[in-house]
């Protein structure tokens, strides 16, 4: 291992060869400001186009200023990060960026959380000396994501996430010069593009250029309407991250406070999506075993591997880019949708409320869920099973706006019958969790033996593509796991080429799984936050008395009273779905 010795601001620094000046400076506590740079170190993702020119530093002997994020440190370099020349340049460049940015801070969704706003404050900008024309673009409203490109600063993070991590390819740098912007090809709307609404672009955007569609107004109106019964469900990943919005350490479990807050907001029934996750395992596990059984009996037609289907971003991905494979994923709906279906039938009957008078709201770490609940097939007579989906961030805004002091709330429980869940359900929130939950149930049903160890560590971790073989009492079941759509693509290509040897594959569109979803509190590139959230999820699992989905008593009761058995006709009607070919083809005249 080679090292280099250099001087930064008169401090001696020794770092490995190939380290950037930025990292070298940080190693001795010198924090050079950056704007476009972003690093998700553990996932080997780095965005450094070298375009914002904020991190420029003076290097002795070099004619012009050097960008610290993409210049390697060399031995004997003498670097100054805060001379007046550098400060003048930094401020001037920032003023230029600000001169082409709308002054919308008062009503901008990112106010208080905007990296550009923070930078302007940090560098003490009081006046913009270089005012002039501003580049403007048509605002783009899709079901999940709003693109307000007037606020784009060309940091290219979204482009990097969409192309290199997710390999979706919806966003690219287009146009030249002043009108250059990141957008779908031909500046078409996101809705028409191959966008999956995974929201990873929103998760990394430093300004208010990419934000989620806000549904808090609709939720408030529903809550204020006395004729409506408003039911809320909340996803597993939310409870591991919501605390961050209130200053709590990343990875603090706030399940109890979450339920309490929702109750105080006025929801008539505070339920848990985890309940529906257990339901999903029942349906999907049965489907897996059914296909497996037919396969082992020599059926050549049966489609294996079975792919999980609870992630709507992932569903959009294969509907738009691999529609020829739409018979392969499980037909089971996602927990959010299963919940809505059950709430507006089983539960509505129980409390004698007409489904039209029931409003089902979901709190999700995800932006694609906003699109998912609007899908036509998830409605009855025009009445959707899930009316609105709001993100973790929107919930935090609602709680703050309602003057609720989150940190002082007592721990409360979810309501029943749709609030009880097992440990298997809660691990849905992280990569590897869905398939581990499925294995816990499938194992016992298939082998008719009791699982001694419920934890399957071989399915856990943060590597992009993982595989493990689980021994089902002599029958080896091969499991594949991918998170991040780029990794999903790899597995899909293998299946297409007939090279896949898995029986079941779990796919999550977001790196890290739902804990890293597009609707979660922004991590600004800090992957230790994702790790902490993952730890919290597994901790909640360990704390649960019941850790296998099929042992959830309320699930058992649901089947007894209503559904009969998994994959029954009623279950099929309410809890299963089919997929569509959504490949977009454009003819350019």
């Amino acid at each position: 291992m080679e090292f280099v010795n250099l001087t930064i601001d008169n401090k001696s620094v020794k770092v490995e060869k190939g380290t950037s000046i930025l990292k070298a400076a940080r190693s001795v506590g010198i924090d050079i400001p950056t704007l476009c740079y972003m690093s998700l170190g553990d996932m080997n993702i780095e965005n450094k186009p070298g375009g914002c020119r904020i991190c420029v530093v003076e290097v002795e002997g070099r004619r012009n200023l050097a960008p610290a994020c993409c210049t390697d440190a060399h031995t004997d370099m003498v670097i100054k990060t805060n001379t007046m020349r550098v400060l003048n340049a930094r401020r001037t460049v920032l003023e230029l960026i600000l001169s082409d940015h709308p002054a919308d801070c008062l009503i901008c969704a990112k106010s208080g959380n905007c990296e550009l706003q923070t930078m302007a404050h940090k560098l003490g900008v009081r006046e913009i000396h270089y005012k002039g024309e501003m580049s403007t673009y048509k605002e783009d409203f899709s079901p999940s994501i709003i693109r307000d490109m007037d606020k784009c600063i060309m940091c290219r993070r979204c482009e990097m996430m969409c192309n290199e991590v997710q390999t979706v390819g919806a966003l690219w740098g287009v146009n030249r010069g002043f009108q250059a912007v990141v957008s779908p090809a031909f500046e078409m709307d996101l809705e028409k593009s191959t966008c999956t609404y995974c929201g990873q672009c929103v998760a990394v955007c430093p300004t208010g250029a990419l934000t989620e569609v806000d549904h808090t107004n609709q939720v408030i109106r529903a809550l204020a309407d006395p004729s409506k019964t408003v039911v809320v469900q909340t996803a597993p990943a939310v409870r591991a991250a919501l605390g961050e919005e209130f200053g709590l350490k990343p990875g603090t479990l706030v399940t109890g406070k979450l339920a309490a807050a929702l109750r105080r907001l006025g929801f008539n029934f505070v339920f848990d999506t985890d309940f529906a996750a257990d339901l999903t395992i029942m349906e999907e596990g049965t489907e897996l075993l059914d296909r497996l059984g037919r396969h082992l009996n020599g059926d050549k037609e049966v489609k294996l591997p079975i792919l999980t289907s609870c992630c709507p971003g992932w569903v959009n991905f294969f509907e738009k880019q691999f529609p020829e494979m739409k018979e392969i994923p499980s037909t089971a709906r996602s927990p959010q949708q299963m919940f809505g279906a059950i709430a507006k039938t089983y539960f509505a009957e129980k409390i004698k409320v007409n489904r039209k008078d029931m409003v089902v709201v979901s709190v999700m770490p995800c932006l694609a869920k906003k699109y998912e609940c609007q899908r036509e097939e998830f409605a009855t007579d025009g009445n959707p099973d899930v009316d609105f989906s709001i993100s973790t961030r929107e919930l935090a805004a609602l709680i703050k706006g309602a003057n609720i002091d989150f940190n002082l709330l007592p721990d409360e429980d979810f309501d029943n019958p749709l609030g009880e869940s097992t440990g298997a359900a809660v691990i849905f929130g992280t990569t590897g969790g869905v398939i581990e939950a499925a294995v816990r149930t499938a194992y016992e049903i298939q082998t008719k033996k009791k699982l001694e160890k419920v934890d399957f560590e071989e399915l856990r971790g943060l590597e992009g593509v993982r595989e493990a073989t689980i021994d089902f009492n002599g029958l080896p079941i091969r499991i594949g796991i991918a998170h991040g759509l780029g990794n999903a693509r790899k597995l899909l290509e293998d299946i297409k080429a007939g090279k896949s040897h898995f029986h079941a594959i779990e796919i999550m569109a977001c790196p890290g799984g739902c804990i890293g979803g597009g609707g979660q509190p922004l991590h600004h590139g800090d992957s230790s936050i994702l790790k902490a959230r993952q730890m919290a999820i597994y901790q909640e699992d360990r704390n649960k008395p019941i850790r296998k989905s099929h042992e959830n008593p309320f699930i058992v009761k649901l089947y007894e009273e209503f559904l009969k058995h998994p994959m029954s006709e009623k279950a099929h009607h309410l809890l299963h779905t089919h997929y569509f070919n959504k490949k977009n083809e454009f003819i350019i005249e």
């Binding site: 186009p49 070298g50 375009g51 914002c52 020119r53 420029v56 012009n64 200023l65 960008p67 993409c70 210049t71 390697d72 020349r85 003048n88 340049a89 001037t92 460049v93 230029l96 960026i97 001169s99 082409d100 000396h129 270089y130 002039g132 024309e133 600063i153 060309m154 690219w172 740098g173 146009n175 030249r176 010069g177 002043f178 009108q179 250059a180 912007v181």
Partner: protein, 597 residues
């Protein structure tokens, strides 16, 4: 077939004409008529010899005698002594300024060495679509020599010794570039010719490709041999269809003749070339943007290091060289590095092709040894300023360069001198300006271009250049303030200091150099709201002089915006707040009552 046994050529260029070359022609003809020689000796007026400071010029054919500073009265002695008696008129002979010796044959004049065609050696001489004409003039002889007599290391050393520097504008030593690429190991390397010539008004590379494509092909093959590349790519702008066609023909013919392809000349070295087309982006002339464009990505520059010689096309070691750089290379190997490095200055060897344009008489393509002064180029080769106007500035380096003034005219042209004077060599555009050019408008014109062509990746160039442009526009429209001028300087320096690539790093140069050299003009625009060259329309006013005005109302009727008012038969006035300065009134007025102030 030849009727005349002698011709007397009299220079009819603007310079000599002013000194009565008409009269010389007349007197010579008269003398010949008197001596009855009009059927044996012909007097003809020609175009400019380019030797204007020694004019009027008379050249005698076929013995190539060159007479300078000839007066009409000399006609008699020329005819009597030279034509009839065959004795040259010594007092009129050109004397070599070095040793004061008379030069009797103009072929030996040092003057002709002022332009020395090395890169353009075959342009205008051979048919570019016929490889045999090129071979007859030594095409591929250098490649043969290198392949059979030199190792790659020796060939690279020869290139280093020659001192050749990149002709695309960067001026990086070509030999060093080749050495670095040869030292990086990879399973495949590439040689790329940058034919994206984007500077407005520059056409040096186009002329070389249209006139002598084989020189480039040969040089690329030599480059390939030196660094270990078997594949060459030419990135050529799509706006050069004729160059593309001739290049394709040349490549095909070279392949047919076995000079490109597998096992060239039986030496085991294989090399072939493919074309790639640009799509109208100036920024793709920057080497990393060019490489990305060829890879099918967005044509945006990326930061260096890593340099292409280390990691370029498809991540492999790549040499990117300019067309003109390549055109020089075969000659260097045939005549030797030591021959080449005797031409030029200490740090800039060889010659440079310039596209001379603007307010100059002899617009065209010239090739001069480094070290030639601007004065020589403009006044001798270029024939001086058009229409007898006064020289104001000469712009070199295109949108990356600056404007040099009267006080810089004796600067010997080379890479370092031009930079020291506030400009740069660039790819070779040279635009001459006279008193009718407004320097603020000139700066704005260049910013028009760079704003349009910026790739948009980095903030200082994308937004900063736009702001510079807006500011210049405001000044040209008469709305600038003194505070604005300060901002111009700071903004220019920051853009230069922080931009990612050469486009942004040099785009403020026209602004800075005009601010330095023509500050008064800026002040006039800002303070006095005046444009001395009469270019900035918003600073001009159309005024009706009441004396000659007879009130015919013709101007009022033709005014498209109704800015002119007045009674019939009475004096008319133009409302300056409405006037759009179209000039229709001035064109219409039969009484010359309307003028521009």
């Amino acid at each position: 077939m030849t009727k005349y046994k002698m011709h007397l050529l009299v220079c009819g260029g603007t310079g000599c004409r002013a000194s009565a070359s008409d009269a010389i022609v007349g007197k010579l003809q008269k003398e010949l008529d008197e001596k009855n020689l009009q059927d044996e000796v012909q007097v003809v007026m020609t175009g400019c010899f380019g030797f204007c400071e020694k004019g009027p010029i008379v050249k005698v054919l076929p013995d190539n005698t060159f007479y300078v500073q000839v007066k009409p009265d000399d006609a008699k002695v020329i005819v009597e002594e030279h034509v009839i008696k065959g004795r040259k008129v010594e007092k009129l002979l050109y004397k070599d300024p070095a040793d004061q010796k008379e030069i009797s044959d103009s072929k030996h004049m040092g003057f002709y060495k002022k332009q020395l065609r090395i890169a353009l050696r075959n342009c205008g001489v051979i048919n570019p679509e016929n490889i045999e004409e090129a071979i007859a003039r030594d095409a591929y002889a250098a490649l043969a020599k290198v392949l059979t007599e030199m190792t790659p290391q020796q060939a690279i050393q020869e290139m280093i010794d020659s001192g050749l520097r990149g002709r695309g504008g960067g001026g990086f030593p070509t030999g060093m570039k080749w050495k670095i690429a040869s030292q990086n190991h990879a399973d495949q390397k590439y040689v790329v010719c940058n034919a994206d010539e984007g500077d407005p008004g520059a056409f040096m590379d186009r002329s070389i490709l249209e006139g002598d494509p084989h020189s480039v092909i040969e040089a690329m093959a030599i480059n390939g041999y030196c660094i270990g590349a078997t594949k060459g790519l030419v990135y050529i702008r799509a706006e050069y269809p004729l160059a593309i066609e001739r290049l394709k023909i040349a490549i095909n013919q070279a392949r047919e003749y076995g000079l490109l392809g597998d096992d060239i000349l039986g030496t085991g070295f294989s090399f072939d070339i493919q074309l790639r087309y640009g799509a109208g982006a100036f920024v793709c002339g920057e080497e990393t943007a060019l490489i990305h464009s060829m890879e099918g990505e967005r044509g945006e520059p990326t930061f260096k290091p890593p340099f292409p010689a280390e990691s370029g096309y498809l991540g492999k070691p790549t040499n990117v060289n300019n067309v003109e750089t390549y055109a020089n290379i075969p000659v260097i190997y045939l005549k030797g590095a030591n021959w080449f490095n005797k031409i030029g200055t200490a740090k800039s060897k060889g010659t440079k092709v310039f596209a001379l344009a603007g307010k100059i008489n002899n617009v065209g393509l010239i090739e001069v040894p480094m070290g030639t002064t601007l004065r020589e180029v403009i006044y001798e080769i270029g024939g001086g300023i058009k229409d007898g106007k006064k020289f104001k500035a000469v712009q070199t380096g295109g949108p990356s360069g600056g404007c040099l003034t009267e006080k810089h005219l004796d600067t010997p042209i080379d890479y370092d001198n031009l930079i020291a004077s506030g400009s740069m060599m660039g790819s070779g555009g040279m635009i001459v300006m006279d008193e009718d050019d407004c320097m603020v408008s000139v700066a704005r014109f260049y910013l028009d271009f760079t704003v349009e062509e910026s790739c948009g990746k980095c903030a200082p160039c994308r937004i900063g250049n736009k702001r510079l442009h807006e500011q210049l526009d405001i000044i040209c429209k008469g709305k600038g303030t003194l505070a604005d001028m300060d901002k111009l300087r700071n903004l220019s320096h920051v853009i230069k200091d922080t931009s990612l690539c050469g486009l942004g790093q040099t785009s403020p140069n026209p602004v800075l150099s005009t601010l330095d050299n023509f500050y008064d003009e800026y002040l006039e625009h800002v303070h006095d709201k005046k444009c001395r060259a009469g270019v900035c329309k918003d600073l001009m006013q159309y005024i009706i002089d009441t004396e000659p005005c007879v009130g015919c109302t013709a101007c009022a009727r033709v005014c498209p915006v109704g800015a002119i008012s007045g009674e019939r038969k009475g004096p008319h006035t133009i409302d300056q707040t409405i006037c759009i300065k179209c000039g229709a009134c001035m064109d219409k007025c039969k009484f010359n009552a309307i003028s521009i102030h």
